[in-house]
């Protein structure tokens, strides 16, 4: 009897243990989502409707589908462009989380590839696929893309577009184009509290310190400044004001190098004096309890909203879109969040650098074998980059979704009165303004879709000198050098992160331990790393 009991006991134990084990192993299955290509969209002038006597041109496209904006075949925009440009498009709608996998498989095997792939660039794997002949070098066919060329010229993006050329001097996709980058995220804080404590809106980082200090004084249990999604968001949104950029977006993902805009070279930003000064500021915030200690964890969207809505924090770096959700969940009377322009630091007032080109359209190699390839390219060019085509993808059809009152865009009443807001309603109901299909973005035109406040902030930021700088150029590595750069990059980035955390939280002292840190980074050849980047610029 006793034996049986103990056997049962063991069984029960192991069952309990295995169920716990199952819980933890679940996590590993979480697939990293496909790295999201930058946003994109379109709009351009010059409409030449193709001869209607021809049959509609048939082609298939890969479309990246986001669950916040589920694709509908019967969207006005999708129907309208097919009608106007005499096309018959077969949409292959693929969930965004797995889009990259599907594209990669289609390009690698060449089997079942569509004629056109949307929402892609030639970063990462696509670059070597392109150089190995899996993609059409669309820059060779620039005679067939007059609308695109015209846009590039009118936005003044010649250099930026040229920088998308690969090692062989050819460009393999039609990127989306932006006339002026959006200021879509930044310092967001409680405007109602500024008034309540009679504080001025912060203009510099020293002002921010004063504001946070006051918030802390009035609410000793709070951590006034919190960050959405970990320190990288903070780094990339604030470091440029100190003259460095080492976040994920810093200098095209080098992580530890920064771009010197005056001298047009890379330098080891992670061990620069500018970075030291930056860390000194934020470690001071941390030491005085002004910065949320949980930010290293990183804080996810739900938790972040909770902190902001319940008054655990009053200021944050995050995106404008997210204000609404927090405000509606807040219970405090007079709760009001406002976004502010970038604060001035030692290197001026800058937000994270942004590219004026985004992901766009690429053509798999076999598309060039189509007898009607020229017509296909011309149709794509008109559909996405002509005045008429770009307007449909951005605004819908004139007369249905909007009317023109002189220069002003007037949206239809049901859109203006929708609880979703103009921007979201246009997307959900008409498919207008989806960053997969809109490839021409005009800042002033987009701002008409948002509340006035957002438009005003954007206007202020657009008027600031160089508030949003261009993304530094990507060096053109061949495979060998790319390998060397990658092998240098990882240990540097890891070491940098460990030290950044230590400096921020005061585990290491900026005064005493800085030299040791610099020595360690130099031992990992940060200077050689910068050299590699500088040697391979165009």
């Amino acid at each position: 009897m006793f034996k049986k009991k103990s056997a049962l006991l063991i069984l029960a134990f192991s069952l309990a243990a295995s169920s716990l084990a199952a819980c933890s192993s679940k996590k590993e299955n979480a697939q990293p989502s496909a790295s999201s290509p930058p946003a994109s969209a379109s709009q351009s002038p010059d409409a030449s409707t193709p001869a209607q006597s021809e049959d509609p041109i048939k082609f298939s496209v890969f479309y990246s589908d986001n669950a916040t904006l589920p694709f509908k075949e019967d969207w006005l925009t999708v129907q309208e462009v097919q009608k106007r440009f005499n096309a018959d498009i077969k949409f292959e709608v693929i969930p965004i989380a797995d889009y990259q996998t599907k594209v990669s498989l289609a390009l690698n095997t060449g089997n079942n590839a569509p004629d056109v792939i949307l929402y892609q660039s030639t970063k990462g794997e696509n670059a070597s696929l392109a150089l190995n002949g899996a993609l059409v070098p669309i820059s060779d066919y620039s005679d067939w893309t007059p609308n695109f060329n015209e846009r590039v010229k009118s936005f003044g993006l010649e250099d930026q577009v040229a920088s998308l050329n690969l090692k062989d001097g050819k460009r393999y996709y039609l990127p989306s184009l932006y006339d002026k980058p959006f200021y879509d995220g930044g310092l967001i804080l409680r405007e109602d509290l500024l008034e309540k404590y009679s504080l001025q809106a912060p203009k510099t980082f020293d002002d921010l310190y004063t504001v946070l200090k006051k918030f802390k004084e009035e609410n000793p249990d709070s951590y006034p400044l919190t960050i959405l999604a970990g320190p990288r968001v903070l780094y990339r949104m604030t470091m440029p004001s100190f003259g460095v950029s080492v976040g994920k977006n810093g200098a095209s993902g080098t992580n530890t190098l920064s771009w010197d805009y005056a001298n047009q070279t890379y330098f080891p930003g992670a061990i620069s004096d500018q970075y030291k000064e930056y860390m000194a500021f934020f470690s001071k915030l941390y030491a005085e309890g002004l910065l949320d200690p949980e930010m290293a964890e990183p804080i996810d969207g739900d938790k972040w909203s909770q902190k902001m809505a319940t008054g655990k924090s009053f200021a944050t770096y995050a995106y404008y879109d997210q204000i609404g959700g927090v405000a509606s969940a807040a219970t405090e009377a007079g709760f009001k969040l406002q976004m502010f322009p970038p604060l001035a630091g030692p290197a001026g007032a800058h937000h994270q650098p942004k590219s004026s080109t985004g992901s766009g359209i690429l053509f798999p190699k076999k598309t060039a074998d189509r007898p009607d390839f020229e017509r296909l390219v011309r149709t794509i060019d008109e559909m996405f980059f002509s005045e008429e085509g770009a307007k449909i993808w951005g605004l819908g059809a004139e007369g249905t979704t909007y009317t023109m009152d002189g220069d002003k865009i007037k949206y239809a009443d049901d859109i203006v009165n929708s609880p979703n807001g103009i921007y979201k309603e246009m997307q959900l109901k008409y498919g207008a303004g989806s960053d997969v299909t809109q490839l021409v973005w005009i800042n002033a035109q987009e701002m008409t879709k948002y509340d006035e406040n957002y438009g005003q902030i954007n206007a202020v930021v657009a008027a600031m000198p160089d508030a949003i700088q261009a993304i530094p150029p990507t060096p053109l590595f061949d495979d060998m050098v790319a390998e060397e750069a990658a092998s240098l990059q990882t240990p540097l980035a890891d070491t940098f992160e460990i030290w950044a955390d230590a400096f921020l939280t005061g585990k290491k002292s900026l005064d005493k331990d800085w030299d040791q840190y610099v020595k360690e980074m130099k031992g990992l050849q940060i200077e050689r790393f910068a050299q590699l980047y500088n040697d391979n610029l165009k």
């Binding site: 716990l20 999201s36 669950a67 079942n112």
Partner: protein
């Protein structure tokens, strides 16, 4: 023995065992209750962290919203089809294969067995497999979902061993009574093998139900299974673009994620208790008399 046990007082060990079992049950059960509560709560309550095991601000908006997603029901129907058809095909093929392999006198059965075991440990990898399926002209057809997975080595081994354990005297009796091998398989072996068939049937059904990757790479949009849909909602919306535009950073409400998880996992969970009796039936066949 049985009547005695009924009246025996609980010992300390019993209490421990029950306590552990209850903990195990709770570990399995609470996440589902929590998900259900989240899916029925208002977004405000979720953001303010008020929801534990019971819905706060009860509403069905999340369910209403997912039912209006284009293709949700279509994808759901696809998954039911893949699960049902895939499981049937798999059981049929596995039974045929395993019955032949369970005969030790079959010429070359060792070699075939080695091939099976080999393919358990080594496979061709993603791209060669994709090329194979594609060159067989299966991509874009439901067969790409069903045929490559008709035989699972692990299930085969279970089934082969189960068939081998069935006393050969039963088959000999059937042969004397004039049954062919197919007749024996159909009328004698399979009816005796319900526990094994239920086990591998359940494994297979769960595999087909959960499979999203093969659907993604081999099929077209309107053939996608619901798990791909679920993945996109739970996983695909947390990205932040670094382009210059207003990248869509809106997130999907927790309540909707939970509702999708509940609706897409519930049916397969309900299968378990229904198949329970086959497992309990046990593996002892016992139809050969002394």
């Amino acid at each position: 023995m049985h009547t005695q046990r009924k009246f025996r007082p609980l010992t300390f060990a019993d209490v421990l065992i029950y306590a552990f079992m209850i903990v195990v049950v709770l570990i399995c059960f609470i996440p589902f209750v929590y998900m259900l509560a989240l899916s029925l709560s208002s977004p405000e309550a979720i953001i303010n962290n008020k929801v534990s095991l019971f819905p706060v601000g009860l509403n069905f908006a999340a369910y209403e919203q997912i039912f209006t997603y284009p293709n949700f029901f279509k994808a759901y129907g696809n998954t039911i089809f893949y699960t049902a058809a895939g499981t049937l095909i798999s059981l049929f093929m596995s039974a045929l294969f395993a019955y032949a392999m369970s005969k030790r006198f079959l010429f070359g059965h060792k070699l075939v067995m080695m091939l099976i075991v080999f393919s358990m440990f080594f496979s061709g990898g993603l791209i060669p497999t994709y090329l194979l399926i594609s060159n067989l002209h299966l991509t874009g057809t439901v067969w790409a979902m069903l045929l490559p997975f008709a035989l699972n080595q692990f299930n085969l081994i279970i089934l082969i061993n189960f068939f081998r354990a069935i006393p050969s005297e039963i088959e000999e009796a059937a042969i004397i009574d004039g049954l062919s091998y197919f007749g024996i398989l159909r009328r004698v072996i399979l009816p005796l093998s319900t526990p094994a068939l239920a086990t591998i049937g359940l494994y297979t059904a769960v595999f087909f139900w959960n499979d999203w990757f093969n659907g993604l790479i081999y099929l077209n949009t309107d053939q996608y299974p619901v798990m791909l849909f679920l993945r996109n909602i739970v996983n695909g919306t947390t990205m932040v673009g670094d382009g210059a535009g207003a990248a869509d950073k809106s997130t999907i409400a927790m309540s909707i994620k939970s509702a999708v998880i509940i609706t897409s996992t519930l049916p397969i969970i309900i299968l378990y208790p229904m198949l329970q009796r086959f497992f309990v039936a046990g593996l002892t066949v016992g139809s050969v008399k002394g």
